[in-house]
């Protein structure tokens, strides 16, 4: 208890964590004021439900970063775990054995990396980078394609809802809930906090980190077992990565080498926003929880807003990182000045320290960070406003336009009549929903749901068009739909074409994310021949 009160006495240490918590509370409050949908309690619990694996990763990564290292291999290990466990489950292994094996693999993986770093004096950055590449490469050696997981235990773990007492009705099973994964993640966090603050190992890693690696030497001289702790901390991170990998495979229900791409960056960002210094030796794992919640909150705020593309998430996270790094830098300077002042015992040093303490926000780094955040917020406003304005030549439905589902029955009818179907849809402010039927005799009938236009082309033109589209390999027997979830600014240029003689031949394209080869060529050929709509009746 004495240590706790001592820690509380040094309040400055809690500034980054305090800032994180305050930021989260303010952002959540602002969200509930702006978007009525967020006032539902479940929207808060959803922040946890969508990120349990991230929280587990943050615990492992946080401990590594506190010890003065960095672990880039976490996302690779997550992907490897999903693929390896999916492959083993496919071969009929017992799920508990698989989980145990994966955790053991994580420990061994981390141990090897830790040994490299500790005894071969390899930079953590390079060693864990090699680890990431190795893990990702191994994924593809196990399986090139995605392996689905059908195991009943995994399904059970994914599907079980734990109702929140007081906020849900246990008889009807309705109300606010979290998943088992969330509970697991919170337990991991609790264990991580216990390890960090109440064990010898935890004190060792705090002693090791910081001061550009010089503290490691001091810790060694103090007689702490630095080498052992270093290997252990990477083992812990490996264990957490494997556990996060299991959580991820339960969450998405499959294993593939591209899973969790770039998650090491999100993890490090959450750690930094959570108030841990990337130089090591400072910060609290509890802050990591709020770092994760803030990243999830930014994402959902942008989703609720509906007019900003999801890419703003990464930009906002980058700006926030800058602010937190600025705060860390100021604190480091303050501590150093105070230390110098104490050592000198002179008034000069003391007065600068006191002066700085009064106005840490005047520091350049904080100012730059704040300026960047303001700039980002302003440009978000501007872009949002621009997107909200009706586009030129469009029907002017504005942002309210939702991406409409493909009119499959209508298309099937037209196909039965011998037509080839071309379909384009576009969400956001464009709001296009045009279904055209191209007949072999040159007749083209287009319909956008409210209006029908007809055009007569020559049969030879139609033949040439369909021939060339066919030559590009654009008629398949598969029904594609790459259209993404509701996303205001994610345009969904959607071209569906069907060729006479084949039963259900539709190819759809999401213009924003996964444009297949020759998409624009096909679009150009089609738009050259299809009739255009006049201003609509709306």
């Amino acid at each position: 208890m004495e240590t706790l009160s001592l820690r509380l006495a040094n309040k400055r240490k809690f500034l980054p964590v305090g800032a994180t918590v305050t930021l989260f509370a303010l952002a959540f409050l602002a969200g509930t004021l702006l978007f009525p949908a967020m006032r539902d309690g479940q929207s808060f619990f959803n922040l946890f439900i969508t990120t349990p694996f991230l929280l587990i990763l943050v615990v492992g990564e946080g401990l590594v970063i506190i010890s003065g290292g960095i672990d880039l291999s976490v996302s690779g290990l997550v992907a490897l775990t999903t693929v390896a466990s999916a492959a083993l489950l496919r071969d009929g292994w017992d799920p508990w054995v698989v989980i145990g094996l994966m955790l053991a693999m994580g420990l061994v993986f981390g141990a090897v990396i830790g040994l490299f770093i500790t005894y071969l004096k390899v930079q953590p950055f390079i060693a864990t980078l090699a680890g990431m590449w190795l893990a990702r490469g191994l994924c593809y050696i196990i399986s090139d394609s995605e392996i689905r997981i059908y195991n009943p235990l995994y399904k059970l773990l994914a599907g079980t809802r734990i109702l929140i007492p007081g906020l849900a009705d246990p008889t009807t099973k309705k109300g606010d809930y979290v998943t088992i994964l969330v509970v697991v993640a919170l337990v991991v966090l609790a264990v991580g906090m216990y390890i960090a603050h109440y064990t010898r190992f935890g004190r060792t890693i705090y002693a090791m980190g910081g001061n550009n690696g010089q503290n490691e030497q001091s810790a060694r001289l103090m007689g702490l077992r630095v080498n052992r702790a270093k290997v252990q901390v990477y083992m812990l991170s490996g264990f957490c990565s494997a556990l996060a990998g299991i959580a991820y495979s339960i969450y998405v229900g499959s294993g593939h080498g591209t899973h969790a791409t770039g998650m090491e960056l999100t993890t490090i960002a959450a750690v930094v926003i959570g108030g841990m210094a990337l130089t090591g030796g400072e910060g609290y794992l509890l802050g990591g929880l709020f770092g994760v919640l803030i990243t999830a909150l930014i994402q959902s705020l942008i989703q609720y807003n509906g007019q900003l593309s999801s890419w703003w998430t990464s930009i906002v996270i980058g700006a926030l990182m800058l602010v937190f790094i600025g705060v860390q830098g100021v604190l480091a300077t303050l501590n150093a000045r105070q230390l110098t002042a104490r050592r000198l015992g002179g008034a000069g040093g003391g007065s600068t320290a006191a002066g700085l303490r009064r106005r840490p926000w005047r520091d350049r780094r904080v100012l730059v960070g704040a300026a960047v955040v303001v700039a980002v917020l302003v440009s978000m406003q501007v872009v949002g406003a621009r997107n909200a304005a009706p586009g030129p030549g469009n029907s002017g439905t504005g942002p309210a336009c939702a991406i409409k589902p493909f009119r499959q029955d209508h298309a099937a009818e037209l196909m039965k009549a011998g037509a080839v179907i071309a379909y384009e849809r576009n969400g956001g402010s464009g709001c296009v929903d045009e279904l055209s039927a191209i007949y072999a005799d040159g007749r083209i009938v287009a319909d956008n749901g409210t209006q029908t236009v007809e055009k007569k082309a020559s049969p030879a033109d139609v033949q040439a068009l369909l021939g060339s589209i066919n030559d590009l390999g654009w008629f398949t027997d598969n029904m594609y739909s790459t259209s993404e979830t509701q996303c205001g600014q994610c345009f969904t240029y959607y071209t569906a074409v069907s060729y006479a003689g084949q039963v259900k031949t539709v190819k759809a394209v999401d213009g924003g994310t996964a444009v297949p080869a020759n998409y624009w060529l096909v679009t150009a050929k089609l738009s050259a021949i299809l009739p255009t709509f006049g201003p609509g009746p709306q």
């Binding site: 980078l129 090699a130 190795l134 090139d144 960056l265 593309s309 990464s314 980058g318 790094i325 464009g430």
Partner: protein
């Protein structure tokens, strides 16, 4: 490999900074000589030279360009993680300038005029190149400002742009993959003057960087800042400007690399351009013998050879039928071997062995 004459001390060759990269390259080429049939065949077709070796040179262009810039940054004791993101930003700026109408809301009316026209470009191509490189340099300056004036750890400072950069690139192109039909822009990455055109860019950049660092004092300043920025400061070197320069130059190189890769695939794909290339570039520099983390002495030629080593490994793995996606595992093995080659313990062993050999030669 260098030819060994009895008068040359073997120990000195082993300790030469180019020893490890040259050794690595020789090992890989030797592997190809033994296991891959016809790897060294060169063929002349329509005035172009074809062959696996040419492929290696051509495909390594972006990595080598990045490695040249990264060498200076690492020599100042820093690292730039954001080069991949800067590549994506530069590529997106170029694509949007060549074809701004494609992201416009009024797609329907204009697209026919744009698609397939090999001469269409909204802005003249020199302007496109200039503006995208300017964007890249601005990104580099941002990194440099954070590192030199913000006193933020380089890895952390550049991590910010690494995270945010791809988002910015996506915003520029409205997350649409723009296809480039303009032939003169595509020439940057696809053109040939007997050898691939991108090769000439690499050579020009290398010569420029070499002259800049070895024929002026800048190289010396960079090394001194890397060894001790405080000592440099006291000896009157403006270490902040040197760092700023290094990051801006790295940004410039990333811009060039971005233009090369966008032009060679003719698509702006902000998600894929330069993905993980920062890691390749850092690896190339590390193979080349410039020390990551500590900074100081650097070798531009070593980094170039390092880049070639990475690409040669990749090409040889494809040649013996390793799947493209599994190549990262091979890279990991390569990193580990390089780590072992450079580790103090292994080096001591080699030095002992080489010293003994050298003494034997001297005695004979």
């Amino acid at each position: 490999m260098k030819t060994l004459r009895p008068s040359i001390n073997l120990g000195r060759v082993v300790e030469s900074r180019l020893f490890v990269p040259v050794l690595a390259l020789s090992v890989i080429l030797l592997f190809d000589l033994v296991f891959v049939r016809g790897f060294f065949n060169l063929e002349m077709k329509d005035g172009h030279l074809y062959g696996s070796l040419i492929d290696i040179l051509r495909n390594s262009a972006p990595t080598v360009v990045l490695a040249i810039g990264m060498t200076l940054v690492i020599a100042t004791g820093g690292v730039d993680l954001s080069v991949g993101a800067i590549m994506a930003i530069a590529g997106s700026v170029a694509c949007i300038l060549i074809d701004p109408r494609i992201v416009g809301l009024n797609l329907q009316g204009n697209i026919t005029a744009v698609v397939g026209d090999p001469t269409y470009s909204f802005a003249p191509i020199p302007v496109v190149i200039l503006l995208s490189l300017l964007a890249a340099v601005a990104c580099g300056l941002w990194n440099g400002l954070l590192v030199s004036f913000g006193r933020i750890q380089p890895m952390v400072a550049t991590l910010i742009l690494m995270i945010a950069g791809r988002g910015i690139a996506q915003l520029i192109t409205n997350s649409i993959k723009i296809i480039i039909f303009n032939d003169s822009f595509a020439y940057i990455g696809n053109g040939f003057i007997v050898l691939p055109f991108s090769l000439f860019i690499v050579v020009a950049l290398f010569v420029g960087a070499w002259l800049l660092t070895r024929r002026t004092a800048i190289g010396l300043f960079v090394e001194s800042v890397g060894i001790s920025f405080r000592a440099s400061l006291y000896s009157g070197i403006n270490e902040k400007m040197i760092k700023l320069f290094a990051y801006a130059f790295c940004g410039f190189c990333a811009g060039v690399a971005g233009l090369i890769s966008v032009s060679s695939i003719r698509t702006s794909d902000a998600n894929q351009i330069g993905l993980y290339t920062e890691l390749d570039a850092i690896l190339a520099v590390v193979i080349g013998g410039t020390l990551l983390g500590t900074g100081g002495r650097f070798s531009l030629l070593g980094s170039v050879i390092g880049g070639l080593v990475i690409q040669a490994t990749q090409t040889s793995m494809y040649a013996i039928g390793v799947a493209a996606s599994a190549i990262t595992a091979v890279k990991a093995v390569m990193v580990i071997s390089v780590i072992l080659l450079y580790s103090q313990q292994v080096q001591d062993l080699v030095r002992k062995g080489a010293g003994r050999l050298g003494r034997k030669q001297a005695a004979a």
